[in-house]
């Protein structure tokens, strides 16, 4: 028996399709227009992460300006990735008076559950121009596998 979700039924047979479309549209609206400042205001999570999937690997990137690689601690526990670190921008000079202070300092920690199983022995991280890139290889069971069709 084929498995068809309620919302995926053909429009003609689904009287709620139009409502579903409106609901999806409203969801899009409430998500905002990708306005970054808006995102920052909404959440208190630091750092912001981007995750890309490239075939057999995952790429996690984060903007971490002003943080030395030695102040950054990345760990992987089963399929939870943790990024910890601290940023220190205290001035050592004397007689400093601030006009503006927008850059935040302090320590941060973020953990996230990865969507796939990861090979823990093959994780690399690099920090370049304030951008952190973590490359995680998928575990063998998580890799895409081609299924051959046997012609009879």
């Amino acid at each position: 028996m084929p498995f068809i979700r309620f919302t995926e039924r053909p429009v003609l047979r689904n009287p709620w399709a139009e409502f579903e479309r409106i609901r999806k549209g409203l969801d899009e609206l409430s998500r905002g227009y990708g306005d970054r400042s808006n995102w920052y205001n909404q959440t208190n999570v630091y750092p912001a992460l981007n995750i890309y999937e490239q075939g057999d690997r995952l790429l996690v990137t984060a903007e971490l300006p002003g943080i030395a690689a030695t102040d950054l601690n990345i760990s992987l526990e089963s399929d939870t990735l943790s990024i910890q670190g601290k940023r220190d921008n205290m001035q050592t000079e004397e007689h400093v008076s601030y006009h503006r202070r927008e850059i935040e300092a302090g320590s941060f920690s973020r953990s996230l559950a990865l969507p796939v199983k990861i090979n823990p022995d093959n994780v690399t991280a690099s920090l370049q121009n304030g951008i952190l890139t973590i490359t995680l290889m998928k575990a063998t069971e998580g890799k895409p596998r081609k299924i051959d069709i046997v012609a009879e």
Binding site: E63, L64, N89, V96, S97, Y98, N129, I131
Partner: protein
């Protein structure tokens, strides 16, 4: 240094690229005013700092390429960085220096030497 930000008066960009206003710290010491700006992902070549009509413009061009592949999570977007400040006349504009390290730009604006106090002798006639 007056920290009034001038609105971007030049016309709108024709390309649909996003511009972000970087977070800055500005502090003053008796010798200089220092501007610190967070511009992650901008390399030295992509950085454009100019001083024109007492307006200091910081423009970091987006150079880092967006990785290929399916996006699973997107919490930040890459873009250009741009911010402008008006520089007071007390800054020695010829000796401004800048330094980029770990995605943090530091511009040092040295103050010009204060005018020496002069004693004016009143001549008796």
């Amino acid at each position: 240094m007056q920290n009034t930000e001038k609105p971007v008066v030049s016309g709108e960009n024709t390309k649909g690229e996003t511009y972000y206003s970087p977070m800055v710290d500005i502090y003053e010491t008796p010798q200089a005013v220092t501007v610190v700006a967070d511009i992650p992902g901008v390399t030295r070549d992509g950085l454009d700092i100019s001083l024109e009509d007492d307006i200091l413009t910081i423009h970091g061009k987006m150079t880092c390429e967006i990785p290929e592949g399916r996006v699973l999570l997107q919490e930040y977007e890459a873009g250009h960085f741009m911010r402008r400040f008006t520089i007071a006349e007390t800054i020695d504009q010829s000796s401004i220096s800048a330094n980029l390290d770990k995605g943090v730009l530091k511009i040092v604006l040295p103050k010009s030497a204060p005018a020496k106090p002069r004693k004016i002798e009143v001549q008796m006639t």
